[in-house]
């Protein structure tokens, strides 16, 4: 059973979230501030940490995440009321794996937790180089892509992008991660967001995506992209 740790100073929200998560089949415990994060994680194994950013006292969430990353690689999903791009980018750059803006639906939270879980499970080892999502198949070994059984021709950058999304198994792939892999020699600037979006647009055209309801690539405003792993389109 997946074990979650909720770090949020608002008792009503924390307790509601814990109940809701238990209703979804998770085991979850809660703590009221980020100062307790390290000691709790030492005692209680957690698969995913749900971390708020602002607390009445003690460390803020960003600091806590940065410190956590010095000794632990436990996945961190930030849950915060701040929806501005700067905060999202900052949280992802100090080591958060994903970011969900409050208020959110419990199913969306559940989907994000599953995406993190999927990536951590060693399903795609050397024995199985195929990632399959509905009609789309990515062969990580031969670096080829087929859509409805037909091979599609991708440029090197387009393939790299798709490969990253496929390997992430529905988990968020941030602009920073894309930058590091696709433009490795250049430093990240905000302006690169448009270069990445142009690349995504071309990839979408090759995958015959309809922008009004994208089948495969989902845009996460201000953060990056994820692959739609839903079995039904």
């Amino acid at each position: 059973m997946v074990q979650l740790l909720v770090v949020d100073d608002e008792p009503h929200f924390r307790n509601t979230l814990l109940k809701a998560l238990k209703g979804q089949g998770y085991r979850a415990i809660g703590i009221p501030n980020a100062d307790l994060l390290t000691s709790t994680l030492v005692i209680q194994r957690s698969d995913v940490v749900l971390l708020d950013l602002t607390f009445d006292s003690g460390m803020n969430g960003l600091e806590a995440c940065e410190r956590l990353r010095q000794w632990s690689s436990v996945p961190v999903l930030v849950i915060s009321v701040s929806s501005d791009e700067a905060t999202k980018v900052q949280a992802l750059s100090v080591g958060a794996d994903d970011y969900l803006v409050k208020p959110f639906g419990i199913l969306e939270l559940s989907a994000r937790i599953q995406a993190i879980q999927r990536r951590l499970m060693p399903r795609y080892s050397a024995q199985n180089p195929l990632v399959q999502v509905r009609d789309l198949t990515v062969n990580l070994h031969t670096q080829s892509v087929t859509l409805c059984g037909e091979a599609i021709d991708l440029t090197r950058k387009e393939y790299k992008l798709l490969e990253m999304l496929a390997v992430a198994q529905g988990e968020l792939v941030t602009y920073q991660m894309l930058m590091d892999r696709i433009w490795p020699r250049e430093t990240y600037e905000k302006d690169k967001g448009s270069a990445i979006r142009s690349l995504v647009k071309r990839l979408r055209q090759k995958l015959n995506e309809d922008l009004s309801h994208p089948n495969y690539i989902l845009t996460q405003s201000g953060m990056g992209f994820r692959l739609n792993m839903n079995p039904r389109p």
């Binding site: 509601t16 208020p103 994208p214």
Partner: protein
């Protein structure tokens, strides 16, 4: 009686004057008086060495320095006092206020004019600086307050949303109750958008508002916004025609995202589905329009549509369109509405600028 009243008024007047008495000003006047008289005496001694023209320059310098640091009244006094000293001690005939020739009036007159003008300019810039500080303080207060409000409003909303969506996933709820929960959940989202609009509008009105325009893909933005209405996009009540979109347009992704979200939200809330988003290219701008099949807004209300706190159905506060207008105008674009019996269309423009550049 009458005399008593007059006396009382006089006393309060005097008391007020004493209260208003500023020791700093008294020292400024005394200092100016002394500086001018000492300078005059020195110049009187050395006048023959340095010449007339240089002498008047020294006075001008004193008046200017005075204007930079002292009260405007003191500056005026400095000009006047310099005028008198210069005339009395240094302009022939010496020890006399008369002038030998009318031309000699020019120099002392210059002190006066400089004193008046520079005093006024200095005072204005000082007031300006004071106002600026006051504005900055007000802006800071507003920002703090808004963050507080938005945080405090969104936290209970988060709890409500968690409860509602959690209940919605339970299987033992009958269809009717489920529908009610769905309505409640939609209203939570609506309330959340209202909070976002209040924040956006106050940011627009604060002087700290910043816009980060970048070359970006408009298609991606429209796709991002449409993905917020997944069911409507799937059943075709929300669709987009992006055939004419240019590769790159210069805009702030976050802000135009807010504009389009508001327009589509309005179309669903106040209009009739289907809602169509379309992009069309014009010679020097891009038009983005959101059209619904509703009959539109009553004629009498149309002029005030983009005003703050104006709402056609007067439910809730009509901030959405005011926010859109502010954000679009910050981009150098325009926004307007068209009405026909069979549709209502809101269109905003983004200026097309030459020079899209990024390497792949």
């Amino acid at each position: 009686m009458k005399i008593g009243a007059v006396m009382a008024t006089w006393t309060t007047n005097v008391q007020q004057r004493i209260k208003r008495w500023q020791p700093r000003l008294f020292w400024q006047y005394s200092l100016v008086f002394l500086v001018v008289i000492v300078t005059t005496l020195v110049l009187f001694e050395v006048k023959s060495f340095i010449g007339d023209a240089k002498v008047s320059l020294v006075y001008l310098l004193i008046v200017l320095c005075c204007a930079a640091v002292a009260h405007p009244g003191v500056t005026l006094f400095c000009g006047l006092w310099s005028f008198l000293c210069y005339d009395f001690f240094l302009v022939p005939p010496v020890f006399d206020f008369r002038f030998a020739s009318p031309i000699q009036v020019l120099d002392p007159l210059a002190f006066l004019v400089v004193a008046v003008v520079t005093g006024a300019i200095a005072e204005r810039s000082r007031q300006h600086a004071d106002e600026k500080i006051a504005y900055q303080k007000a802006d800071q207060l507003r920002a703090t307050l808004l963050n507080l409000v938005s945080h405090n409003l969104r936290t209970p909303l988060s709890t409500i949303k968690a409860v509602l969506t959690s209940l919605l996933t339970q299987n033992n709820i009958d269809a009717e109750s489920k529908q009610l929960l769905v309505y409640a959940d939609q209203e939570v989202d609506h309330l959340n958008r209202l909070i976002a609009n209040v924040l956006q509008l106050s940011r627009l009105e604060a002087s700290v508002f910043q816009i980060n325009k970048r070359w970006d893909v408009l298609d991606e933005l429209i796709g991002t916004v449409l993905s917020r209405w997944p069911e409507e996009a799937a059943d075709g009540t929300l669709s987009a025609n992006l055939a004419e979109t240019p590769a790159l347009v210069l805009f702030d992704f976050e802000l135009i995202e807010a504009v389009l979200t508001n327009l589509i939200d309005n179309a669903f809330r106040h209009g009739q589905p289907p809602v169509k988003v379309a992009v069309s290219a014009h010679p020097d701008e891009i038009w983005v329009s959101v059209e619904d099949a509703g009959a539109g807004i009553p004629v009498k209300d149309r002029a005030r549509l983009f005003d703050k706190f104006f709402n056609v159905k007067s439910k809730g506060i009509g901030l959405g369109l005011a926010v859109c207008k502010g954000l679009v105008e910050a981009h150098g674009g325009r926004i307007w509405a068209e009405f026909a019996p069979a549709y209502t269309r809101f269109t905003f423009t983004l200026p097309l600028v030459a020079g899209a550049a990024f390497e792949e």
